[in-house]
Amino acid sequence: MEYGIKISKPTKDVLTCGVKDLLIDTSYPLLKVKATGTGTLSAPNNGGDTDTITHNLGYIPRVLVYGQVHELGVGKSAYYRKYPYIRQQVGIYSSNFSYDITTTELKIYGSFGDEGFGTETFDYFYYLFYDEK
């Protein structure tokens, strides 16, 4: 690259140090946030829920999604995990929190099947980037 910016860590020579010692190196693209948001999935036992976020970029962008999940045998988590989160036990009990991304939409979905639980709600948040996957 002929043009750009490099900023090194303190005491490191920006002209000679390795990439790991650079705080900024525009030889490598930085993720650029297009949209961020939150939502709540409401999933019945043995069922699921899907939220759709339209981006209309015309290509498949990078995305990060974090949210609550159903822990098998335990119930809804108070904490967040990184999606996709997929668990299955003895072929019957399952917990599936994930997302699909197309050239126009991000679909975030959650479902679970676990004995003794009713409908649960799961909070999530997402970051959608301009950068292509």
Binding site: M1, E2, Y3, G4, I5, T26, S27, Y28, P29, L30, L31, K32, V33, K34, T36, T38, N56, L57, G58, Y59, P61, L64, Y66, S77, A78, Y79, Y80, R81, K82, Y83, P84, Y85, I86, F125, Y127, Y130, D131, E132
Partner: protein
């Protein structure tokens, strides 16, 4: 934008106007937010399970990797979907050596 920085990829005109579909052709545009690393490092524990207190007051985006050594690791295995984040900590219930990256951004 009256001021700022835009750096385009090679062979892309950095002076062109930004559109929703050409921002991907830029390495960096200060018009848009980019994720910022606020914490990163290794954690180890003599017993299974590790935790790092970030104290951000929100759930941050994060990545976590299992490693074989916290001083000279020879592999990094992604374990993000089994790690746990709250408004105060990120943790893992079973691994005892991990590398983590926590971003400023989150919810």
């Amino acid at each position: 934008m009256p001021y700022g920085i835009r750096i385009s990829r090679d062979n892309i005109d950095a002076t062109q106007g930004l559109t929703e579909t050409n921002i991907k052709d830029f390495v960096f545009v200060s018009d848009k937010n980019s994720p910022k690393v606020i914490f990163s490092g290794f954690i180890s524990s003599a017993t299974p399970g590790v935790s790092f207190t970030h104290g951000l007051g929100r759930v941050p985006m994060f990545f976590m990797f299992s490693v074989d050594s916290v001083t000279s690791p020879t592999y990094y295995e992604a374990i993000g979907d089994s790690a746990i984040a709250t408004t105060t900590t990120i943790s893992h219930p079973t691994y005892s050596k991990v590398y983590y990256i926590i971003l400023q951004e989150g919810n």
